[in-house]
C-alpha cells in the first residue's frame, strides 16, 4: 500500500469568513437567531428617524432661530451659544485665561499619563500643589495685572471643571488622613474617622449642598462670609473626602503586611513609614479608584444647578428657556450629554487600562 498525504481540505465554507463568523456569533440556535433578527429590525426602525433628525434634516449654519426651519435638529442653537456654554458669563476678552488654565492642566495630565516622560513624581506634585495656585490667580485675577473676575460670573463647562478638579485635589489629603485614621490603632481616632466617613457617605450630595448653602453661614461668626461658589466647594470637599478616604483605605489594604513589618523592623516612625514606604506604593494602586471617584464627582457637579450655580447643565437649560431659542431643549441636553460622556467614558477607559496594568504587576506581590 502506498500512502500519500492528501493536502488539507479547506474548512467548510460555512465556518470561516463572514458567514462563519455570523453563524457562530449571530445565528447559533433558534433563540439567538430570533434575537439577532429582532434587534436588527428594531435598530433600523428606531435609528433611521433619529439619524434623519440629528444629521440629515439638521440645520448647522446660521445665527438665529430662523435658520432652523427644516424640522430636524437645530445645532445652530449650540453653535450660537457655545461661548456661553463653555465660559459662562466670564468676560469674553478674558476667556484666554480659562483656556490657558485648561491647556496647562491637560499638559500636566499628559505628562503624568504618557509612560515615556520622566519625573512622574514632579508632575504629580505640580498638579496637586503648584497648579492650583496658578489656576487660582489665572481664574480670579486681581493680581499680576489681571483683571478681577468675580466668581458669580463663572459658569458653564469651565465651572464644571473647576468644581470637579478642586473637589478631588482638596479631598485627597483629607482623605488620606481619614483613611490612616480609620486604620489607626488609636480607638478614638479610629471611631471618629469611621463616624465621619459613614455620615457623609450616608447622605445624598444634594442635602450636603443645601446644608452648605443655607446652614453653613450660620456656623461662622458674623464677620465671616463665604462666596456662594466657595460654600458649594466646601460642601463638595467634605462629601468627597469621605469617598476618597474609602479609596485610600482600599489602597492601603492592598499593601502586603510584610511592607509594614519591614518598615517597623527598620525602626521607622509612623509618619516615615507611611510617607516613605506605604503611601507611595498605595497611591499607585489607588489611581484607578481615584479616577473612578473623579468620574462620579464629575457627574455629580451637575447638582449645583439646584443651589443656583450655573454649571454646564444649568446654563444650557437656562439658554433653552430663552424666548429666542425656545423649543430646542433636546439639542441642548444632547450637547451636555455628549460633553459629559466624552470625559467620563475617556476617564473610565483609562482607569480600566490602569487596572489591567496594575493587575499584571500584582501577581508577584501578595
Amino acid at each position: 500500500m502506498k500512502y500519500e498525504i492528501q493536502p488539507t481540505l479547506p474548512p467548510p465554507a460555512n465556518t470561516v469568513g463572514a458567514i462563519g463568523w455570523m453563524r457562530k456569533h449571530l445565528f447559533h440556535g433558534p433563540l439567538s437567531s430570533a434575537a439577532t433578527v429582532i434587534i436588527a429590525v428594531l435598530a433600523v426602525y428606531l435609528l433611521t428617524p433619529v439619524l434623519q433628525w440629528a444629521f440629515i434634516d439638521a440645520d448647522w449654519i446660521g445665527d438665529s432661530r430662523e435658520a432652523c426651519s427644516s424640522g430636524g435638529a437645530c445645532w445652530v442653537f449650540i453653535g450660537n451659544r457655545l461661548e456661553q456654554f463653555l465660559y459662562g458669563f466670564y468676560p469674553s476678552e478674558q476667556t484666554w485665561r480659562l483656556n490657558l488654565a485648561f491647556v496647562l492642566l491637560i499638559a500636566l495630565i499628559a505628562w503624568m499619563l504618557i509612560p515615556r516622560l520622566p519625573g512622574k513624581g514632579w508632575a504629580g506634585a505640580i498638579t496637586l500643589v503648584i497648579y492650583p495656585i496658578i489656576a487660582y490667580y489665572l481664574l480670579i485675577g486681581d493680581a499680576f495685572g489681571l483683571e478681577y473676575v468675580e466668581t458669580h460670573r463663572w459658569g458653564g463647562f469651565s465651572l464644571t471643571l473647576v468644581l470637579a478638579f478642586v473637589g478631588i485635589v482638596a479631598a485627597l489629603p483629607f482623605g488620606i488622613l481619614l483613611a490612616l485614621g480609620r486604620r489607626s490603632a488609636m480607638p478614638i481616632v479610629r471611631s471618629l474617622s469611621v463616624t465621619y466617613i459613614e455620615i457623609w457617605r450616608g447622605v445624598p450630595l444634594i442635602t450636603v449642598l443645601f446644608m452648605a448653602s443655607v446652614m453653613l453661614p450660620l456656623f461662622f461668626p458674623e464677620d465671616i462670609n463665604f462666596d456662594k461658589l466657595l460654600r458649594a466647594l466646601i460642601g463638595i470637599i467634605m462629601f468627597q473626602t469621605a469617598y476618597m478616604a474609602e479609596v485610600v483605605r482600599g489602597g492601603l489594604q492592598a499593601i502586603p503586611k510584610g511592607q509594614y513589618e519591614a518598615a517597623d523592623a527598620l525602626g521607622l516612625s509612623y509618619w516615615k513609614k507611611m510617607i516613605l514606604i506605604i503611601l507611595p506604593q498605595a497611591l499607585k494602586l489607588m489611581i484607578p479608584g481615584i479616577v473612578n471617584t473623579f468620574i462620579a464627582l464629575f457627574k455629580d457637579t451637575s447638582l449645583v444647578v439646584i443651589i443656583g450655580l450655573f454649571d454646564l447643565l444649568a446654563i444650557v437649560q437656562a439658554a433653552s428657556n430663552d424666548p429666542d431659542w425656545i423649543g430646542f431643549a433636546t439639542e441642548g441636553y444632547i450637547f451636555v450629554a455628549l460633553m459629559f460622556w466624552i470625559f467620563c467614558f475617556g476617564m473610565s477607559r483609562y482607569s480600566q487600562h490602569l487596572e489591567k496594568l496594575l493587575h499584571t504587576g500584582h501577581g508577584n506581590r501578595a
Binding site: P217, L218, L230, G308, I326
Partner: protein, 338 residues
C-alpha cells in the same frame, strides 16, 4: 478672642471670602467701597442680566440708588443672584447688604426671620395665567384644574388658601424656579400658572405663543414687594428706606435725571431739601449731603425707573395702576423730606 483667631485662620486659608460686617453695615459698605445686593436669578423687569451680564430692572435700580446714596456711584454694586430658598439666609449671614429680590412683605418674614422690610417698591398681587382657548372668565371656574407654581413662595400658600376658601379642588405642580413653572404651563403640564402678576407678564413674553395666554381678572392676594435689610442695624435700615423715599419724592416734585442739575437752582423749598441744598441733608443718615441728588442724577426718580424697567418703555408694558403716586390715584406715598 479664640473665635477671632479661628476666623482669621479660616480667612487666611480661603482667600475667596467676602468682607467683614461686624462694625455695622454702613461702615462695611464704605470700607469695601462696594454694595452687595441680593437679586433674582432672572425675573424680567425686576432683576435680569443682559447679554453682557449687566443687571437691569426695578429691583436693581433700588440697589443702584442705595449705592449712589452711600458711595456716590451707582455702579459700585455687586449683584448676587439668589434662589428663593437662599435669599433670607444670605441676608441673615451678611453675604449681602440689601435683599432686593421681589420679596413679599409678610408678618412672619418681618418678625421671625430677623429681617426688616424698608418699604414697597412695587404693589403686586397674585394672579393666574390660562390659555385663551379654554375660554375661562374667572378663577372660580378652575375647579379640578392642575396649577403650576413655584415652591417656597407666598404664592404657593395663597393658592392653597384661595382654593380652599372657595371650595375648589386643584392639583399643584411645584417647581424650584418660576421659569420651570412657566415653561411647564406653556407646554401643557398645567391648566393654569400662578405667580405675582408682575412676574407673570414678564414670563409670558418668554412663552412660545404669548398672545394665546391671558390673565384671569382676579387678584387673589396682596403682594407688597420691597427691599429687605437685617434687623438690628437702624442706621442702615434708614438709609435703604430713605433711598426709596427720595426716588418717590423726586418724582412727586418733577425732578428727573435729565433736569436735576437745573433743579438745583430751583426756588422750591421742597426741591432744595431733596437735593441737599437745605434741610436735613445727609446728617442723620451719616452719608454725603447730596445723596438724594446722586440717586436722581445716576438712577432717576421712581417714575423713570418704573417706566424703563416694567412700564410702557419696557417689554412688559405694565400700567402704573396702583403703583402711581398718591396724588395720581395710586398707593405710592413717601414721607416728606424735611
Amino acid at each position: 478672642m479664640m473665635k477671632k483667631t479661628l476666623a482669621a485662620a479660616i480667612l487666611a486659608t480661603t482667600a475667596l471670602s467676602g468682607a467683614a460686617m461686624a462694625e455695622g453695615t454702613l461702615e462695611a459698605v464704605k470700607g469695601r467701597d462696594l454694595l452687595q445686593c441680593g437679586v433674582t436669578n432672572g425675573v424680567p423687569g425686576f432683576s435680569v442680566p443682559d447679554e453682557q451680564g449687566n443687571w437691569q430692572g426695578l429691583d436693581v435700580d433700588v440697589c443702584k440708588a442705595v449705592a449712589a446714596a452711600v458711595l456716590g456711584d451707582a455702579g459700585k454694586v455687586k449683584y448676587i443672584p439668589l434662589t428663593a430658598k437662599e435669599r433670607f439666609t444670605a441676608l441673615q449671614s451678611g453675604e449681602i447688604d440689601v435683599l432686593s429680590r421681589v420679596t413679599t412683605w409678610t408678618q412672619t418674614r418681618d418678625t421671625q426671620l430677623g429681617l426688616n422690610f424698608t418699604g414697597v417698591t412695587y404693589y403686586d398681587g397674585q394672579g393666574f395665567l390660562v390659555k385663551k382657548d379654554l375660554g375661562l372668565q374667572s378663577v372660580k371656574e378652575l375647579d379640578g384644574a392642575t396649577v403650576c407654581v413655584q415652591s417656597g413662595t407666598t404664592t404657593e400658600l395663597n393658592l392653597a388658601d384661595y382654593f380652599r376658601a372657595n371650595g375648589l379642588n386643584f392639583t399643584p405642580v411645584v417647581f424650584d424656579t418660576n421659569e420651570q413653572a412657566a415653561s411647564s404651563f406653556d407646554s401643557g403640564r398645567c391648566d393654569a400658572f400662578t405667580t405675582d402678576l408682575s412676574q407673570a407678564y414678564g414670563l409670558r413674553t418668554r412663552m412660545s405663543d404669548p398672545d394665546a395666554v391671558v390673565a384671569l381678572p382676579e387678584v387673589i392676594s396682596k403682594e407688597p414687594l420691597g427691599p429687605v435689610v437685617r434687623q438690628g442695624d437702624d442706621q442702615w435700615f434708614n438709609i435703604v428706606k430713605w433711598s426709596l423715599f427720595a426716588m418717590l419724592n423726586a418724582e412727586e416734585l418733577g425732578v428727573t435725571s435729565a433736569n436735576v442739575d437745573e433743579m438745583k437752582s430751583s426756588e422750591n423749598p421742597n426741591i432744595k431739601r431733596l437735593l441737599g441744598i437745605d434741610g436735613p441733608k445727609g446728617k442723620g443718615l451719616d452719608i454725603a449731603d447730596d445723596w438724594a441728588y446722586q440717586i436722581v442724577k445716576q438712577v432717576g426718580n421712581y417714575g423713570e425707573a418704573f417706566e424703563r424697567n416694567v412700564g410702557m418703555g419696557s417689554a412688559l408694558k405694565i400700567d402704573r395702576g396702583i403703583n402711581a403716586l398718591w396724588n395720581q390715584g395710586g398707593f405710592q406715598y413717601a414721607p416728606p423730606m424735611r
